[in-house]
């Protein structure tokens, strides 16, 4: 049954995945009803599901999700439109790379939560500071990832372009970009996931709306089922976004061997 590094049928794969989830839920349920742990620390899965329902029907949670998703996408968009061209230029022109790399490497190592107080001083407690936190968290990582992706485009592709008569801009547009695009999309998918981590931090510290704010304010009333439901909601949003990116990847890059 456990054959080493061998593919298994698709059906078996799905069944095992479902079985893993169910096992987790069963163990959770058993522990919750056994009385070892008090319900305010570990509510049953059913209680969490009910809280999930209440959040949407009574607390207007959908609005908070929309606000959080909006923040993530806006900040992510701002990071991407600057990081992609900059990363491409850094790998194309050594001088530009040499100028930016040490600076970006330095900022990249600063833990984003440590920047939150500074960003609040600069941008206040409004939308701007949340966008700034998300942007700081993704932009610098993304520049270096895009830089690497475009650097890895085989030299033969670029030299083919030049000897076909393309100029430097045409090589970047017609060869480096399409050649690096599959890896870039993968890296965008991963970086968008990080955005969610920083969003919750930003919303916990200073916000009056959003998923992070909701979770944090429910904590004060020890509404453990609601807190867990909020966390699970983030997981579901992340999973859906990730799957959407994967689907896009499969559809857009049909030529790749998988």
């Amino acid at each position: 049954m456990l054959s080493f590094r061998t593919a298994i049928p698709r059906r078996q794969e799905v069944t095992l995945g479902v079985a893993g989830l169910v096992t987790f839920l069963v163990v959770w349920q058993l522990v919750a009803v056994s009385g070892w742990i008090k319900p305010q620390f570990l509510p049953t899965p059913g209680a969490v599901l009910a809280a999930f329902w209440r959040l949407f029907t009574e607390a207007g949670f959908a609005g908070d999700i929309a606000i959080s998703v909006g923040r993530v996408w806006f900040a992510f968009f701002l990071a991407v439109i600057i990081a992609v061209p900059l990363g491409l230029l850094m790998s194309s022109y050594r001088a530009i790379g040499a100028f930016f790399e040490p600076f970006i490497d330095f900022i990249r190592y600063l833990p984003v939560p440590a920047l939150v107080p500074l960003l609040i001083i600069w941008f206040g407690v409004g939308e701007a500071s949340k966008i700034a936190v998300l942007w700081m968290g993704t932009f610098f990582q993304l520049v270096l990832l895009i830089n690497e992706d475009t650097k890895r485009v085989p030299r033969e592709y670029i030299e083919s372009g030049l000897t076909l008569g393309a100029n430097q801009w045409q090589v970047m547009r017609d060869i480096i970009c399409p050649a690096a695009l599959p890896n870039m999309v993968d890296n965008l998918r991963i970086t968008l996931g990080w955005c969610w981590t920083y969003l919750i931090i930003a919303e916990i510290v200073a916000a009056s709306s959003g998923v992070g704010h909701v979770i944090w304010s429910l904590r004060r009333f020890v509404k453990t089922p609601e807190v867990m439901a909020g966390i699970i909601a983030i997981g579901i949003i992340g999973l859906l976004t990730d799957q959407a990116f994967r689907l896009l990847h499969r559809r857009a890059f049909v030529y790749l061997d998988r």
Partner: protein, 265 residues
């Protein structure tokens, strides 16, 4: 009349462990339409020499002239086919050939379509127009790369061991096909190889190179010994071919021997 001239061209690479002379100062004249094969041991500097003609390496000394004009960096006048398959995987066969036409000024849409059809036919890829190059064999990918380079209509065709990574049967098939393509296209060509038979079979003229730094140790007029128009797969069995192969092998062996002595000393 010299069309492509190399005048005292040399190349020295600066590395962390010191200077490496890849190509010793060398002068060379190639006439229009001539197919010259560069034959030599691996790593002898023949590829570096060709890359300098392509503008992909800058000569340390000397200059290269095309039709009397000094050459600089890479452009459409010198098309290059690489050893590794440089067909673009995100494009189809037809898309790759279109990429070769893309930077040619003043080509109408209908002309583009005609050219693509002609080139696909020329390299024998009819029926694969819409296949992605990641879905076809190495030999077919290399034919795509050749067609794409021809699409750009370069003055000089540079081929860097284009069949080096192929199996023996495919290589023989592509050599025969290239002989035919050369006859119809008539491009001035430099073809780099370390395969003696290939160097003779495809050449009007073969230059045999020494081990690094590259020097020309033999300049053989293959055309007079084996008329190009009469060549085909069977040419490999002709006495003139076999004599020539033996002669070149002897030269290469001697050169290798000298090289080993130098290594010991």
């Amino acid at each position: 009349m010299s069309y492509l001239s190399l005048q005292d061209v040399s190349k020295t690479f600066r590395t962390a462990t010191g200077d490496v002379e890849a190509v010793a100062p060398l002068s060379l004249h190639i006439v229009q339409g001539e197919i010259v094969t560069f034959l030599g041991p691996s790593g002898c500097g023949k590829t570096t020499l060709m890359r300098m003609v392509g503008g992909l390496e800058r000569p340390t000394t000397g200059q290269i002239l095309l039709d009397g004009q000094p050459l600089g960096g890479p452009d459409r006048r010198r098309g290059m086919v690489f050893q590794s398959y440089a067909a673009f995987p995100w494009l189809t066969v037809a898309g790759n050939i279109r990429a070769g036409l893309r930077y040619r000024p003043g080509i109408s849409r209908s002309e583009q379509a005609d050219q693509i059809a002609r080139l696909i036919d020329l390299v024998g890829l009819t029926g694969f127009e819409d296949s992605y190059t990641s879905r076809i064999s190495g030999g077919m990918r290399q034919r795509v790369a050749i067609a794409r380079t021809l699409a750009a209509d370069p003055d000089v065709l540079l081929m860097d061991e284009p069949f080096g990574a192929l199996d023996a049967l495919t290589r023989e098939h592509l050599q025969t096909q290239l002989m035919r393509i050369n006859r119809t296209e008539g491009k001035t060509t430099i073809f780099v190889t370390h395969d003696v038979e290939e160097a003779i079979l495809l050449a009007h003229r073969t230059l045999v190179f020494s081990a690094r730094p590259a020097r020309v140790i033999e300049d053989i007029d293959v055309s007079t010994l084996l008329p190009p128009a009469a060549r085909d797969t069977e040419t490999r069995d002709q006495p003139a071919f076999l004599d020539l192969r033996k002669r070149i092998q002897t030269v290469l062996r001697q050169e290798h021997h000298e090289g080993s002595k130098a290594d010991v000393a």
